[in-house]
Structure formats: structure tokens, C-alpha cells
Amino acid sequence: MDLSKLTNEKKLSLCRGYFRTGFALLPFVWAVNAIWFFNEAFRKPEYEEQKQLKKYVIYSAIGAAIWSVVLTTWIVIFQVNRDNWGEFADRISFIIPLGS
């Protein structure tokens, strides 16, 4: 989708839609939102809806950042301790690596 062909109003509603969708435990949607609308929010000459758009972009970026920190921490903890946790770790795994 080419953002340059959208009206500002449409952009805002699109950005808002992405932001809201992200609450359904979809951090990647927030990350996409933040990157995609970054130029619109910060590098375009000012327009009426920009203030709101900026807000959504920043919030999406923060949300995505928190998610990535939480996920990274969990993945590190899990990978380090998978072996020690024994049965519990196997039960919460979808794929158990062979030979370890």
C-alpha cells in the first residue's frame, strides 16, 4: 500500500487501527506500525492529524519495545534452564530439539 496516495485522515485511521490491533497480543503489528508511519509522524511537514498519529506511533514503538524485552528475557531464561526444568519444560515445549 502506498501511503503517499492516502489522505491524511485515512492514514490516521489506519495507524489507529494497527495500534488497537496490537493489543491482541500482537507486538509485531506495533513494530510494523511504528516503522511504517515513522516518516509520516516525524519527517513530514506538519498537518492536522500528525499530532495524533505521532502519539500512536510512539505508543506502538514503546509497546513493541517492552514486548521484545520481555520475550528476549523469557527466551534466554527458558533456553538456559530447559534442561534443568525437566518435565515442566518438556510439557510447555512444542518442539523438543533432538539429542539435547
Binding site: 500500500m1 502506498d2 496516495k5 492516502l6 534442561d83 525437566g86 518435565e87 518438556d90 510439557r91 515445549s93 512444542f94 518442539i95 523438543i96 533432538l98 539429542g99 539435547s100
Partner: protein
């Protein structure tokens, strides 16, 4: 028209040319397979993993051909190219050198080849085999160490792949490759192409039996896969006299109750660090003696003349791995499930045999000739085994020296029984008193040479008195006559039964050529006919090896009765657990003359109770818990590894070209309006 014909001709020629090419891929052509190789693999018990595994895809290493220990030290110290795979003679596969290799970061695997000179010893079982499931204080104390040369490597987590190459040609090709590329100016090894080997034996399972059994059964796993299987096979039992009466007319079968039993037992499995076993001394000497005893007793006592004692032959399987076969039989006996599984402890076909019905338990352990000594190990003296020892001495063959050893108990199935029933009267016959005379216990070198076996063609050769055949026949006669006297109460006065032919043929069958007369006699030719020893490794549950079936049927044949002419009806006669009917040859000399045999022989599961008890507590350590990892490929292949400089060069050229390609694409795109003529673009039909 002309053009089409011309093109067609060209295509045809092209097709012919292409057809003559074969599709060898470059990635396959850069390797030379080392075919005659066998690998060490991974096993688990309740708490540990033992054995070897490579990483996924195989372990690569520069080969270093060693002939003596100093070669090994040399490469660990001076090698510049690493990682290495030392190629060592069997004599160097010791606890010490494996420890050294484990600690070295320069080693990624190990290859073992057979020694040129005679080996001193090669046994990787423990110094006290099966110690954790043995009667306490029977090993390691009072100067008794049964397997003093044992390295224990079979029960160590080695951590890198170990392969064994047994074909001389393969060893030579490895050596040639090493001489040509590696064996000069070690300082500059890094700078040139080197002969390397890839060892692939990646094991799927990890950690211990409870973990891998659990992982094999997890339902939420997206990629469900068996990562290990319990070790297991079949135990074999047969009785001298039928355990039931059979009415030929009504086909009615009734169990004979209230009998006492003399058990003659032996183990039927061997183990090895590698995926191949032989087991000449242990278990074949004992096993063949047992079969000979069965044959002699059948000849001396063809019918049950109201004797109160019967003889039960039992072959335990998986005994090398914490006595799993005998543990299962004891477990079954306790629950009234021996010799056949019952609902409430009684069977309509067979008497239920319990430990209290056994008056005497005789186990035949390693029995090769040595100096002619046979030791009678009596763990506890009692009325029964004292009397039987006297009988053995009375009936002893002149070539044997019988000696008693009281209070000692070598590794044997007896341990399992005594742990449960302290008062059982037992005897273990073996050629050793305090330590094995067998220097190759549970290894690939426990072969026919180890017991000095030579196959005789009797018609044209005289049998030397010091042959293994002669020795085993002498022991079998001694035991059989003693059992005869025990059962009948009368001494057997006639001479020895000449069983040379049978023992000769049995040993030949098990040790040298599977496609032998005895297998034809019982009509159980192995699926793969090979002129190599039977594989006696217990294997995994649900995949009974050929050896057990063959041995079982030979035992059944030796103790069976001919009930009629051979025909199709034979195998259709009443199918039940008490009797089995098969068409078999009458003897080895007349393979084509078959009769209908009635056998009182059957198989029982030899799988540790740990795997059948629901909710078994693995930490209880009550039963053997060995399982074997599964694996995909297992192979070794040679290749030429380029020098480090060349490897980096290829990497660099690749990286540079990919960066350039990105740059070029970027420039072309950004200057596309100059490079390509602008075309009139249609307005987009939609607004995005």
C-alpha cells in the same frame, strides 16, 4: 520443415550424450565412504546417558594415524590444524587415553582399528559388572574383582563419536591418505589441504531413560518422535519332560502339578562398545554347554517315569545390562506369570512355576578351557548344592579339574534370584575363581580365537583333547550325569555321550557362519545370511534379534519329541502354550528327512519390569532401566579439507560478491529512468 528436422537431430544427439552421463553429485564425489565401520552409540539408565554421539550432521576432523601412545601425545601437543580425529589401534582405547582426549579441545572424534600384534585385553564393561544389581559384597572386596581389566568405557558418557574400522583395506586407505597429505611438516599443516574424516553418529535421545521415554510420548509435541527404546528381547525356556499331559485323541491338555524343578540356566546375550557383538566366551561357551546338557539329558531320560523332579532350561537375555532378563522372570514368577501369563495365578495348560518349586539353580557361566579348571561357586552352602557338588565330583570327566569356591558369586543371573530368595540353592559353574580368565569380556574381540575354536571336519581329522569342543562335551556329560542321578536316584553307569559333532556345529553356527546345518535343521534360516557371527546384543524391545529365535528353536529341537510324520497338519495341531509343533529335520546328517516335533519350549518377554509397571518410580533403582537412543545415519567418510587460507578466501569472495550485487541493484534502481526508456504509465485503477 528442414529447420525442424535439423533441430530434432540436435536434440536427439544431445539426449544420447546426456544419457551416457551418470548422476554422481559433486557433494557425494568429494567423499570416500569407510564402509566397514561400526560406531559406539548412546544408552540411558535412570539417571545418566552413556556412550557416544556426534553433533548433528557429523563431526569433522583432520585424521592423525597413531600406532603408539606417543603419536597421540604428539598430535595433541603439536597439531596446528585441528580439530583432529586420532586413528588409534585397539590397544590404545583405554580409560586413560579417552580421558586425555575428552579434556583436549583439539579432538572431535576417535577411530579405532584392530591391532596387528596380539591384544593384551579389550573389555569395556565395569570392573564389577552389574554391580548395582548384584548381591552386596560379591565384588570389589576380599580380593575379588571379576573383570579387573574392565575400562568401564561402555558406561561412560564419552561425548565425541567413536568408530571402529575392522576391514584391513579400509585401514590401509585411511593410512595412505594420511601419509600422502598429513604426515609431514606439522608446523605448516594449517596452510595446506589435509586428509580429514567425517564421523556421523548423531543420537536423538538425551539425558536419561525417564526423560527420553517421556519425550517420546508427549502429545503436545509438534514433531512427535521416538527418541529412545527400552532394551529388551526374549527369554527362552524349555523343559526336559513335558509340563503337561497331552491326549492325542481328544487333544486335551492338562498341566502336571506339584513337580519340583532343577533349573539349568545361562545368559544368551553379549554387549560391546560398538554396534557389533560376538560373545564367544560369554555367553556362547555356557550357552552351548547348556544345549549339550539338554541333548544328553534327553538321551538319558527320554521319558518321565513318574519322577518328581523335572529339569527346566532357561536362557536369560539382556543380562549384560543389569540382569534385565532374569529380573523380569523373577517379577513374573512372583505374580504367577511364569512360564505363561495367567489371569489369577492358575493356567489350564501349564503349571505355574514359583521360586519355591526350584530345588536347585545351576548356572553355566564362562566355560572356555583355560587350564581345565571348572569352579563350582556356591554362594551359600546348603543340603542341595552340597549334595549336587558331590554328584558332580563323582561323575566328573577325567579331563576336568573340579574345584569348589564357597561364598563367591560371579556375575550371573543367580544374583537376581538370591536378592529376592535368599534361601535358593544355587551353583554357578565357571572357569574362573576370583577374576575372569576372559580378557575380552563383552567386546568385539571375544571371538572364536579367544576360546581357541577351530571347526573340525570329523571325517578326516582327529579331535585333540585340548580342543574347546572336547572340553565343553566333558562338562556337559559331567553335569548331565549328575542331574540324571539327582532325578532318578541312580548313578548313570554307561559311558559318556559323544556329542562332539553337535558342539562343533553349534560353535561354528554361532561364531563363524550363520548359514550352517543347525539353522537348516530347525528351519529358521536367518533373514540375512552371512558368514559372520550371530549378533548377540540384546537389542530393543519389539525387535527380537535372530539369535534368540534360533537358539530357542535349537533348544526346542534338542528337547523335543517326534510325534509323527512331517506334514502340514503338524503345525496345525493344538496351538497352546504347553506344546508347540514344528516340522524339523531328524538330525544334522539328514537335513531333508523331516518329522513332526513336539516341543516344550517357549519365549517370555525379557523387558525390564521398570518399563511395564505403571507409574514406576525411576529413582527407586529397583529394576534395570536401560534404554537405547534412536539415530538416523551412522557412517564415516574421508574427504580432503582445504587449507584454512583457501577456506577464508572462498568465504571472502562470496561475501564480497553478495555486497556488490546489492550495490549494483541499488544503483540500477536509482538510475532506472536514465537506463531504461520511460514508458507511459497507466493511471492506477485503485487509489493505492
Amino acid at each position: 520443415m528442414m529447420i525442424f528436422a535439423k533441430n530434432g537431430l540436435i536434440l536427439l544427439i544431445l539426449k544420447l550424450v546426456l544419457n551416457s552421463c551418470n548422476g554422481d553429485r559433486i557433494k557425494d564425489r568429494m567423499y570416500i565412504d569407510v564402509k566397514a565401520s561400526t560406531s559406539c552409540f548412546r544408552r540411558f539408565n535412570a539417571t545418566h546417558q552413556v556412550g557416544c554421539s556426534s553433533q548433528r550432521g557429523g563431526a569433522n576432523g583432520v585424521i592423525h594415524f597413531c600406532t603408539k601412545e606417543s603419536d597421540l601425545h604428539f598430535i595433541l601437543k603439536n597439531g596446528t590444524a585441528g580439530p583432529y580425529v586420532p586413528i588409534v589401534p585397539a590397544s590404545l582405547l583405554t580409560e586413560k587415553s579417552v580421558k586425555l582426549l575428552k579434556l583436549s579441545p583439539k579432538v572431535s572424534g576417535l577411530v579405532v582399528y584392530p591391532n596387528n600384534e596380539t591384544l593384551n585385553s579389550f573389555t569395556h564393561d565395569l570392573k564389577c559388572p552389574n554391580e548395582n544389581f548384584a548381591v552386596p559384597n560379591t565384588c570389589g572386596k576380599n580380593e575379588i574383582t571379576w573383570n579387573p581389566r574392565g575400562t568401564g568405557l561402555l558406561f561412560q558418557d564419552i561425548g565425541f563419536p567413536v568408530f571402529f574400522i575392522d576391514l584391513y583395506e579400509d585401514v590401509t586407505s585411511v593410512k595412505e591418505c594420511f601419509q600422502k597429505f598429513n604426515n609431514f611438516s606439522y608446523d605448516t599443516q594449517r596452510d595446506r589441504a589435509l586428509c580429514s574424516i567425517q564421523l556421523n553418529s548423531f543420537m536423538y535421545g538425551a539425558k536419561n531413560t525417564p526423560t527420553c521415554i517421556r519425550r517420546s510420548n508427549i502429545a503436545t509435541n509438534l514433531n512427535p518422535m521416538r527418541v529412545c527404546d527400552p532394551l529388551g528381547s526374549k527369554n527362552v525356556w524349555a523343559s526336559l519332560f513335558p509340563l503337561a499331559t497331552y491326549n492325542n485323541e481328544t487333544e486335551e491338555v492338562k498341566p502336571i502339578l506339584g513337580q519340583k524343578y532343577i533349573v539349568v540356566a545361562s545368559r544368551s546375550d553379549a554387549a560391546s562398545l560398538f554396534d557389533r557383538t560376538v560373545g564367544a566366551e560369554s555367553p556362547i561357551t555356557g550357552l552351548v554347554t547348556l544345549l549339550a546338557v539338554a541333548k544328553i539329558l534327553k538321551q538319558l531320560l527320554p521319558q518321565n517315569k513318574n519322577y518328581t523332579t523335572n529339569v527346566l532350561f532357561i536362557l536369560f537375555n539382556g543380562e549384560s545390562f543389569d540382569y534385565l532378563g532374569s529380573q523380569r522372570i523373577v517379577y513374573d514368577m512372583e505374580r504367577g506369570n511364569f512360564p505363561v501369563e495367567t489371569e489369577n495365578g492358575t493356567s489350564v495348560f501349564l503349571p505355574v512355576i514359583k521360586a519355591k518349586d526350584i530345588t536347585l539353580f545351576i548356572e553355566l557361566s564362562q566355560l572356555s578351557r583355560g587350564d581345565g579348571h571348572v569352579f563350582i561357586h556356591r554362594y551359600k552352602l546348603d543340603r542341595w548344592n552340597t549334595r549336587f557338588t558331590d554328584l558332580l565330583k563323582i561323575n566328573s570327566h577325567s579331563s576336568l579339574t573340579l574345584a569348589t569356591s564357597d561364598g563367591t558369586l560371579p556375575p550371573s543371573s543367580v544374583h537376581t534370584f538370591i536378592r529376592k530368595y535368599q534361601n535358593l540353592s544355587t551353583l554357578v559353574l565357571a572357569n574362573h575363581e576370583r577374576e575372569y580368565s576372559n580378557r575380552f569380556y563383552n567386546s568385539i574381540f571375544d571371538n572364536s580365537t579367544n576360546i581357541n575354536f577351530r571347526y573340525f571336519n570329523r571325517s578326516d581329522e582327529l579331535v585333540p583333547i585340548d580342543s574347546i569342543q572336547y572340553h565343553l562335551v566333558a562338562i556337559a556329560n559331567t553335569i548331565s550325569k549328575s542331574i540324571y542321578q539327582e532325578v532318578t536316584g541312580v548313578r548313570y553307569e554307561d559311558g559318556d555321550v559323544d556329542l562332539f559333532e553337535l558342539v562343533n556345529e553349534l560353535l561354528y553356527c554361532f561364531l563363524e557362519d550363520q548359514n550352517c546345518k543347525l539353522h537348516q535343521v530347525v528351519g529358521k534360516i536367518p533373514q540375512k545370511q552371512q558368514d559372520q557371527p550371530l549378533n548377540l546384543y540384546v537389542g530393543v524391545d519389539g525387535n527380537t534379534n535372530d539369535a534368540v529365535t534360533l537358539i530357542g528353536f535349537i533348544l526346542g529341537w534338542l528337547t523335543g519329541d517326534i510325534v509323527g510324520e512331517s506334514n502340514q497338519n503338524c503345525t496345525n495341531i493344538s496351538k497352546n502354550y504347553a506344546f508347540r509343533f514344528y516340522n524339523m529335520s531328524v538330525d544334522m546328517a539328514h537335513l531333508n528327512v523331516t518329522k513332526c516335533f513336539r516341543m516344550v519350549m517357549n519365549f517370555t518377554d525379557a523387558v525390564s519390569p521398570a518399563f511395564i509397571i505403571e507409574g514406576y518410580d525411576w529413582s527407586s533403582n529397583l529394576y534395570s532401566s536401560w534404554s537405547e537412543s534412536t539415530w538416523g545415519d551412522m557412517n564415516a567418510r574421508l574427504f580432503l579439507k582445504p587449507s584454512a587460507a583457501q577456506e577464508s578466501m572462498v568465504m571472502a569472495v562470496g561475501s564480497i560478491s553478495i555486497i556488490f550485487s546489492f550495490l549494483i541493484v541499488y544503483f540500477i534502481k536509482s538510475r532506472s529512468d536514465i537506463l531504461f526508456c520511460p514508458t507511459a504509465t497507466q493511471p492506477s485503477p485503485v487509489d493505492c
